[in-house]
Amino acid sequence: MANPLLEAPTNSSPATAIDLSQKASTFINSQSSWLSAIPYPLSLFINTESQEKWQTYENLFLACLRTGDDNTAYACLESLTNRFGKGNDRILGLQGLYKESTAKNDSELAEVLKEYEEILKNDPTIFSIRKRRAAVLRSMGRTSDAVTALTNLLDQSPTDAEAWSELADLYLMLGSYEQAIFCLEEVVLVMPNSWNMQARTGEVLYLSSEKLEGADQLRLLSESMRRYCRSLELCDDYLRGYYGLKLTTDRLLELLSTGKKSQQSSSDPVKGDLAPPSIDAVKKLNELATSKLTEIVRRSKSGEKGWDGYSEAEIIAARELLDRGTQKIER
């Protein structure tokens, strides 16, 4: 496995974040060895720089902020600032992050926001600050402002997958499924091989299909199922993918077995949509998802090697879904 210090800690579980932040002080101490204490003219001959070093600093900074260890976080930020200067885009973003997380109430947060706007007035091309601004707006509950900020950003930088997926999240929060799906499609266009985004698209499609009826529902549901299939094609053991596959195939089986007539009208060749899948294939996929979910739950519960990377909450949810299925059969 890769060095945990070098991986961006944004998606890691709380346990890993704590683990990381506890390593922080040892790491910082290890950086001040005799090598960096060499006097000036001789220090020109020795290089202690590496990209990994600064990546580690940044990751530790983020982990410490998450776990509330503000002092260590500040120390990391100091070294980063000393190295890259105050005006660096990324440093500005990190500094903002620090101020945001140490802000105690909304008025202090508003203060930070004002600072961001001040920076952006001078130079609107600092994308890290623009993103931070959108994030602050969101956390202050000003969702529509955050949406405007992000749409502006995306008009100027339409290849930013991070911003697109954040916008999708916001739209989902507001209940505008169609816009959310559009944003997710943009993300997938930028990163075609990211299985998690494929599955995420499937999730939103599934949610939006719940609101509809008849042929439209069938269409969205089958597309959602296909998204999950694609996600699994890209990543064999993706728990969320199997979970979604089981969920969608369950629903599809219900729909396909009850309303045979609506099936015809939905495959409209003019629009170029795919025909709904055959009931046979759906059944097989359902079986596949069920057996794979059972396998994952069983193996990760017994803690087998290579199967212990799943998050606990997801395993529990998967078990619950499986139990729901078996109860139905017993009835």
Binding site: L44, F45, I46, N47, E49, S50, D123, P124, T125, D155, Q156, S157, P158, T159, D160, F182, E185, V188, L189, V190, P192, E223, M225, R226, R227, C229, R230, L232, E233, D236, K271, G272, D273, L274, P277, A281, V282, K284, L285, L288, S291, K292, E295
Partner: protein
């Protein structure tokens, strides 16, 4: 020259201490000097103005759409394609809509372009000056004799490389002249610099020159409108297929054996 009897040349051991070693040390030191010089001379890349960023990234978006179109449904693709082509034709993405139709801008008139060229000049000077100085130094002091013998035999083709500045035809190829030693160190010290200065150093001029030859300083000044029109045409001819078409069968085929 039958080659049976090995050539014996008696060298003064002082050659080693006063020529071989100094040349090597000087070469290493110049490499380090060059590294720091080019770091000092480097100008920070200039920030692009916002409209320019938008222009570039819009173009990139279309390229993404053109390459990864299979990921989205035909309807979604059609919608995006029509919107993009129309906007591109109207010049909505252009950084400078007023300059449409004026043709290729002159690179000399653009101050940003001039700055880029200046930066390149500075880099070149930092490379060339120490190199020519040292070569002159070696030529003036140490040319015309051999300073070391390689411990392994070589074919005569290496004669040119190893015995520059020594005009003896019958000399065994294993003898290396001082000028050749200079060239060997010039091209072969990269690992040493990597060890001393870290892997992304600017000490070796050969790698520098290779990096430079890839970017044509004049090439960036294409008329943006033409690029957008070409991109729109490329996008127009894309024939769409959907990657989700038949994905369930593919997945079943692949995974059914494993469970």
């Amino acid at each position: 020259m039958a080659g049976a009897a090995e050539q014996q040349i008696h060298r003064d051991p002082a050659l080693f201490y006063w020529i071989l070693l100094p040349i090597t040390v000087v070469m290493v030191l110049t490499g380090i000097l060059r590294h720091y010089l080019s770091t000092l001379l480097q100008t920070a890349p200039k920030r692009l103005p916002l409209p320019k960023i938008r222009e570039q990234r819009s173009l990139l978006r279309s390229a993404n759409l053109r390459m990864n179109y299979a990921q989205i449904s035909p309807a979604a693709f059609q919608k995006r394609r029509e919107w993009w082509i129309e906007s591109a034709r109207d010049g909505k993405f252009l950084a400078d809509p007023d300059a449409r139709g004026k043709g290729k801008p002159n690179p000399m008139s653009d101050p940003a372009m001039m700055e880029g060229m200046m930066g390149m000049m500075k880099g070149n000077v930092a490379m060339m000056v120490p190199q020519s100085l040292i070569m002159g130094w070696i030529n003036a002091f140490f040319s015309g004799y051999v300073i070391m013998k390689l411990p392994f035999p070589l074919t005569p083709q290496f004669k040119q490389m190893l015995q520059a500045g020594v005009g003896t035809r019958d000399l065994d190829v294993r003898w290396v002249s001082s000028l050749s030693w200079y060239f060997l160190t010039l091209f072969g010290l990269q690992p040493v610099y990597n060890f001393i200065l870290g892997s992304n150093n600017a000490a070796n001029q050969v790698t520098q020159q290779m990096a430079q030859s890839q970017v044509n300083p004049m090439g960036g000044a294409e008329d943006p409108e033409k690029i957008f029109n070409a991109e729109a045409e490329n996008l127009e001819v894309v024939e769409h297929y959907y990657i989700l078409d038949g994905v369930e069968d593919r997945l079943l085929e692949r995974l059914q054996g494993t469970v």
